[in-house]
């Protein structure tokens, strides 16, 4: 066990995790939030009723969520190659990570948005708001605390998923734990990486909860 080798190795892996999870989270929020909004407003009691679209979106989301991540990782390889030019490495891992997290976050966002009191939407309609104004000025700000908690939840999920990114050479802390710690019986390495992951996950949860509480004026 030579720490002078392991410390640079681990920090490199940590940066890979940060990169994969960070970019995937960003993509997930940017694409998953509109999807969540769509799921809410196209509903049969929604602002822009479109039952057919709603059912299609719902089915797609359910389908994507029912695929085990390890399978998704492999199935989307052609798509990944099309988008990033390669199917191996951290950048390539971002594609399946985002694809797995987007439908998850869309559902989480949907739940949060549905919790916004119907009366508020009605008041906004009575004031002459457009659907877009209601989304931007009522639904999103009012659901912000639950959206923040949802993002924390998504990040934690992504960290979990990213451990499997090693399959396509994505690297990261989880990969180190699996390959060196588990497969080569380097127990110390495994313990260190797992502890690191635990600390990061705890930190994100605590941060998310605090932030959600801070923006909640209820």
């Amino acid at each position: 066990m030579d720490w002078s080798v392991w410390i640079p190795n681990l920090s490199h892996a940590a940066l890979e995790t940060l990169y994969m999870v960070g970019v995937s989270t960003l993509l997930t929020v940017v694409l998953g939030l509109p999807l969540g909004v769509l799921l809410v407003i196209t509903d049969r009691n929604g602002l822009k009723r479109a039952p057919a679209l709603n059912q299609v979106l719902g089915a797609v989301v359910n389908f994507a969520r029912s695929l085990p991540f390890i399978i998704l990782l492999v199935v989307v390889i052609p798509f990944t190659r099309f988008v990033v030019g390669t199917s191996i490495g951290s950048t390539a891992a971002i594609v399946p990570l985002s694809l797995a997290a987007i439908p998850f976050f869309a559902r989480v966002a949907e739940t949060g948005l549905r919790e916004v009191d119907r009366g508020l939407v009605e008041a906004a309609q009575a004031m002459g708001c457009t659907t877009w104004q209601i989304i931007r000025k009522v639904l999103l700000p009012e659901a912000l605390p639950s959206l923040i908690l949802g993002i924390a939840l998504t990040i934690i999920n992504l960290i979990g998923y990213s451990a499997m990114a090693g399959v396509i050479g994505g690297g990261g802390l989880g990969d180190v734990a699996v390959r060196y710690g588990y497969q080569r019986f380097e127990t110390a390495v495994m313990v260190v990486t797992v502890v690191l992951l635990v600390v990061v996950v705890q930190g994100i949860q605590i941060l998310g909860s605090k932030l959600a509480l801070k923006v909640s004026k209820r």
């Binding site: 009366g119 009605e122 009575a126 000025k137 923006v215 004026k217």
Partner: protein, 325 residues
């Protein structure tokens, strides 16, 4: 100001159709406070929500501010709604915005610039007496304060019509009274026309000029509050002066309900009645209420003596309403 004609709303529930509103017509004159009362489930909420088309009526027309709302395309309807204020039973304030932010909301929607918004918000908070709460969040306010914010918000774009959906139903009696005074005051000072729905007779008593009673989706009585209240047969007057349990009629006496309005309520009519006609008067029950700022009393009496018919005529001649049973 508000003209509703032939308004019907039908809900199709599993296998049965429910007529929430059944050909309702009413007219609210400019500057008037018009109350629609009725038990829960009578269709009041549906009615007021049909006025600004939060609910689409199945049939009928709604005209507000001279505009036929029921025929407006979406974009015009939104503009028309900006000229109709609305307040709610549960206030419906944005929890993520401060008091000032909530009041500014409709101004943002309408597209006023920031400087105007700030001025107008100050003005409005002053109007409802909440200047020092400008930076508080709704969660920090009492129910009465929340409704004041609701009122300020509803008036932000200077609408000439205010719709009130059970605005005081979630408030205690004292707060209700102060909110009603505020509404009355705004009605007088700004010439604001108010259409309100409520299940509380107290609201009608304190501020309404005109009232319609809604039952099972139909208007069963409508008129000026002071006209209805003096009519012993009206539902409104019976609501204020309940006949109570059936009084046991003493044989050989005449029982009558006497309604006193305004000045007549101040004169000692009964005392002079007894002296003049040498009859016995037994008071079975009675009450005096202040309705729309006027004193109105109703007495349930029993008369016995030889000159009872003359006595009744005398009562009628002094301007009282007498109903013999």
């Amino acid at each position: 100001m508000i003209q509703i004609s032939g308004l019907s709303k039908v809900f199709n529930q599993s296998r049965q159709t429910v007529w929430a509103l059944d050909h309702v017509s009413l007219h609210v004159a400019p500057g008037e406070i018009f109350g629609v009362v009725g038990p829960s489930g009578a269709g009041k909420s549906t009615l007021i929500r049909c006025v600004n088309l939060l609910e689409r009526p199945t049939a009928g027309e709604v005209i507000v501010n001279g505009q036929l709302l029921t025929s407006l395309p979406e974009a015009d309807l939104r503009r028309a709604r900006q000229q109709i204020g609305m307040i709610f039973q549960h206030f419906n304030l944005l929890s993520s915005r401060t008091v000032a932010g909530n009041v500014a909301f409709p101004l943002e929607i309408t597209g006023y610039d920031k400087r105007y918004r700030q001025e107008r918000v100050e003005e409005l908070l002053d109007l409802v007496g909440l200047t020092e709460k400008a930076h508080a969040y709704p969660a920090q306010l009492s129910g009465g304060q929340k409704q004041r914010v609701g009122i300020a918000r509803a008036l932000a774009t200077e609408p000439r019509v205010l719709l009130s959906d059970e605005a005081t139903s979630a408030l205690d009696p004292q707060t209700t009274s102060s909110i009603l005074s505020l509404l009355k005051d705004l009605n007088r000072r700004l010439g604001l026309t108010i259409l309100l729905i409520t299940h509380e007779m107290e609201v009608v008593k304190q501020i309404c000029d005109h009232v319609a009673i809604l039952n099972d989706g139909r208007i069963v009585e409508e008129g000026a509050v002071h006209d209805l209240i003096v009519d012993p047969d009206s539902r409104l007057s019976q609501a204020f002066f309940p006949r109570g349990e059936e009084v046991i009629h003493t044989p050989g006496t005449t029982s009558a309900a006497v309604t006193f309005v305004g000045k007549a309520a101040d004169r000692p009519v009964l005392a002079s009645l007894v002296r003049r006609f040498d009859i016995d008067v037994n008071i079975l029950g009675g009450s005096i209420q202040v309705i729309g700022g006027r004193r109105i009393g109703r007495l349930q009496i029993e008369l016995s003596g030889t000159q009872v018919p003359q006595a009744l005529t005398y009562l009628r001649e002094t301007g009282l309403r007498v109903e013999v049973k």
